[in-house]
């Protein structure tokens, strides 16, 4: 079986384009075996073994629709697989996308995932807008599209579409290698996860009781597709200049969000679009009397709480009194802010500008605009460039203000080899093996 790679992985914050990646391919093809040879000279693959992992996360369970924190997405993808990595994608016609499944995967799993996303009330629903209908034909699932939607293949690389055929299967408190995994059995026999806070994880790693810490605060330069934004309720357009004028996204990312994190001045993160500093905004006159607003945030997300408090401190002098309301994630992700409400929402962006744009539109409550945007994008010769333009154009119109992006910080022991990252910037534990002593 051949597996279709969705896209070339962006390798840095500058956001290399697809074309650039293709021009470097011959050079890479020459250098790669040489590098691989020298690497294997130092450490030889040692199949098997159990990887002890500390997860810095308070979440106990993970739902594909709300796996919008890097650690949660990673945990999800240990037992689930991104749709774009499992199926073979082909286009019988511009408005038909065929997803051919390997023999070990039931096509029903795919339709279930599609159904889940298209009927959800989370922002991920925006990714399913291009899909008009689907049907199972033998081992394939055919998607009838509303338009050409040339980027849908990459949009399927979103955790919301993940299907439960991961590299590992949960057995008791362990994740054991899943032999029938379509892309082959992982090198490791099992992964044992321990949820811990940052300090405990650090201590466990120092004591060599875990070989990998996921979610550690690091300053790694990794792909950051997990964004956090402020979503404004109706009638709160005046809050935008107040927020833009007083919030320093760089400070937010540096001091209030555990790294790796970065500022997000626009709708697209650095890995999808070049970044431009936000234009300076004049401070509005403080409101008198002050306006009372509710700021709802995910009760499990520590970084959202820190950001919420920062917003509280920054906006109070401008006449906005923010009442902080920690809210269960599921509840927060499935509703829109009412009047006088402001939400802090975290989303996992798909690794494509078009997908990210659709997701933001859905999050901003602009579901009805998505078909028109898709039409504009389909007509463009360079899809990504047009998506970037539209992102810049639409950003001030949407009732949301992106703040920061996050990636997953990883601390690994020396013996943990071949720790690669996927399109979302998450480490792929199914590729990991232990180095021989």
């Amino acid at each position: 079986m051949t597996k279709t790679s969705c896209f070339p992985l962006p390798s840095g914050p500058s956001g290399e384009g697809q074309g650039e990646g293709l021009t470097r391919r011959p050079l890479t093809l020459i250098l790669l075996p040489l590098l691989a040879t020298s690497a294997f000279a130092g450490s030889r693959a040692h199949p098997g073994g159990t990887l002890q992992v500390a997860l810095v996360s308070p979440s106990a369970t993970v739902d594909p629709l709300t796996a919008d924190a890097p650690v949660d997405a990673l945990r999800l993808l240990l037992t689930h697989q991104l749709l774009c990595r499992v199926v073979e994608l082909s286009r019988p016609s511009p408005t038909t996308l065929r997803l051919t499944t390997p023999p070990s995967i039931d096509p029903k799993l795919i339709t279930d995932a599609l159904q889940r996303v298209s009927t959800s009330t989370t922002a991920a629903r925006g990714l399913a807008v291009p899909i008009a209908s689907w049907s199972i034909k033998g081992r394939a699932v055919e998607l009838q599209l509303k338009g050409p939607s040339p980027d849908l293949e990459r949009m399927l690389c979103h955790p919301a579409f993940a299907i439960p055929v991961g590299a590992f299967k949960a057995k008791a408190d362990r994740l054991e290698a899943f032999d029938e995994q379509p892309s082959g059995r992982p090198h490791l026999d099992a992964v044992v996860l321990q949820a811990a806070d940052a300090r405990t994880a650090e201590r466990l790693f120092a004591q060599r009781r875990v070989q990998l810490v996921l979610g550690a605060a690091t300053s790694d330069e990794v792909v950051q597709l997990f964004a956090t934004a402020v979503v404004l309720g109706p009638g709160l357009a005046a809050l935008r200049p107040a927020l833009e004028s007083t919030i320093d996204r760089g400070d937010l990312a540096r001091f209030f969000v555990p790294g790796p994190a970065g500022p997000l001045p626009g709708l697209l993160p650095p890995s999808l679009a070049p970044q431009f500093p936000a234009p300076p905004v004049a401070k509005p006159t403080p409101l008198n009397p002050p306006r009372e607003l509710s700021l709802l945030f995910d009760e499990e997300a520590a970084h959202e709480k820190s950001i919420a408090q920062r917003l509280q401190v920054k906006l109070q002098p401008l006449g906005y009194r923010l009442a902080l309301k920690p809210t269960p994630r599921g509840q927060l992700r499935n509703r829109r802010p009412a009047e006088g409400e402001v939400f802090l929402q975290s989303v996992a962006l798909p690794p494509t500008p078009t997908g990210a744009l659709l997701l933001w539109l859905e999050l901003a409550g602009q579901h009805a605009r998505i078909p028109a945007v898709l039409q504009q994008l389909s007509a463009a010769p360079d899809l990504d460039a047009r998506a970037r333009e539209l992102a810049l154009q639409l950003a001030p119109e949407l009732p949301l203000i992106p703040l920061v992006t996050r990636g997953l910080g990883v601390v690994a022991a020396k013996e943990v080899q071949h720790l690669t990252r996927d399109a979302l910037g998450l480490p792929r534990l199914d590729d990991v093996f232990f180095a021989t002593e």
Binding site: R254, F255, F256, E292, S306, Q309, R310, Q312, V313
Partner: protein
């Protein structure tokens, strides 16, 4: 109304009067005593609160002294001085604050900008004027001030006891301003210590409170600098309950006393009135004609016994007098009978006598005519003056005078 009931009612009225006078007076005195004790207890508790406040200030002073000398604070001061400051500075104050039992810790630069804040990490880079003002106070002074915190309804200003310590790192001075919040936890401590409801009032609003105080209450306040007031509300429900209990006991005793006085009054009045009633009955009997009625003086004593004795003597005397009267009446009746009898007897005798006298007179006249012619005339005049209608015949001079008739005794 009978004397017995009058006396019983008098007894009851006397008892009620006594209760009405004594119970309120006693209760008032008791209430004053209990209130005085309560006041004294509250005064004692306020002294304890003062001592607790002193202890708290001492703790703040010691914690900040220890912090000022710690290597950890020096490291943070060094990191905070770096440009740009490392990310961990954000949470550095929290890490320094928590193990020292402090609720408030801000590291400020010389301009009053927050380098790190333990109680409000989101204040990073922002000025904190209230806390920076503490650095201008005399060294080691624990000051009451307002500290901004992230609250559920926005930033809130909470009263706190804080003190400042300077840390010099090279040419740069960093101020550590830390202390404790006058929060729910403190209010709970004080509430546990005093048993009162404790409210920490700042700007007219109860910022923190703990405990409860059932009404009626006694309120004492203690100013905390010029930023807050500690309000202790002591319940006086116990006092009221004690007072009610005493009142109930008093009323119970009074009720029992009243009942006893009714019974006793009835018995005593009965004892007093029984001889009087016996006397009354005896008097009635006497008046109805029963002579010689006597009253038993066995149950009586004192004046009543004397009265009964006198009564008995009087009835005895009365009986004697009656007997005598009866006897004298019988004598009088016999006398009347005799008189009538004598009269009846006398009536036929008079003609006889007159005849006799006439005869005598005639005889005498005959004799005197023989000797003296005037004697029969004198006798006739005398008989005219002594009795009734003897006009028929005039005594002749020289007649003989008849003697008066004699009384005849009936016996």
């Amino acid at each position: 109304m009978r004397l017995r009931w009058t006396l019983a009612l008098a007894f009851i009225a006397l008892s009620v009067l006594q209760i009405a006078v004594v119970v309120p007076l006693a209760l008032r005195n008791l209430s004053a005593l209990l209130s005085g004790q309560q006041e004294a207890r509250v005064d004692q508790l306020m002294v304890t609160v003062d001592a607790e406040a002193e202890r708290l200030q001492g703790d703040v002073r010691r914690s900040m002294d220890e912090l000022a000398l710690s290597q950890g604070l020096e490291d943070v001061a060094r990191d905070a001085a770096r440009v740009p400051a490392p990310a961990h500075v954000t949470t550095a104050a929290t890490a320094l604050m928590t193990p020292r039992g402090l609720d408030v810790l801000a590291l400020l630069d010389e301009q009053g900008r927050t380098l790190s804040s333990g109680h409000l990490p989101a204040r990073l880079g922002e000025p904190d004027d209230p806390l920076f003002a503490v650095t201008k106070r005399p060294a080691r002074t624990v000051t009451a001030t307002r500290v901004e915190l992230s609250g559920a309804d926005g930033l809130v200003s909470a009263p706190a006891l804080v003190t400042a310590r300077p840390i010099d790192y090279g040419e740069r001075r960093v101020w550590a301003v830390g202390g404790v919040l006058l929060s729910e936890a403190r209010a709970k401590d004080l509430s546990r210590l005093t048993g009162a409801r404790v409210e920490i009032v700042s700007d007219g609003v109860a910022h923190a409170s703990a405990g409860s105080a059932a009404p009626p209450t006694l309120t004492r306040t203690l100013p905390v600098g010029d930023v807050a007031t500690l309000r202790l509300i002591f319940s006086q429900a116990d006092l009221v309950a004690t007072r009610s209990e005493v009142l109930r006991a008093f009323l119970g005793f009074a009720g029992v006393g009243l009942l006893l006085s009714v019974i006793l009054g009835f018995l005593v009045s009965r004892r007093i009135t029984r001889p009087v009633e016996a006397l009354t009955d005896a008097a009635l009997k006497i008046s109805s004609g029963t002579p010689g009625v006597t009253v038993d003086a066995q149950d009586a004593s004192g004046e009543l016994k004397g009265l009964i004795d006198t009564f008995n003597r009087m009835t005895g005397d009365l009986k004697d007098a009656t007997n005598k009267l009866v006897a004298s009446e019988r004598v009088a009746a016999w006398q009347e009978v005799a008189r009538r009898l004598a009269h009846e007897i006398k009536n036929p005798l008079t003609p006889i006598r007159m005849s006799l006298e006439t005869l005598l007179a005639a005889h005498s006249m005959t004799a005197s005519r023989a000797s003296s012619p005037r004697a029969p005339a004198r006798c006739w005049r005398r008989s005219t003056g002594s009795n009734a209608s003897s006009t028929s015949s005039a005594s002749s001079p020289g007649c003989r005078t008849l003697s008066s008739p004699r009384t005849i005794s009936p016996r």
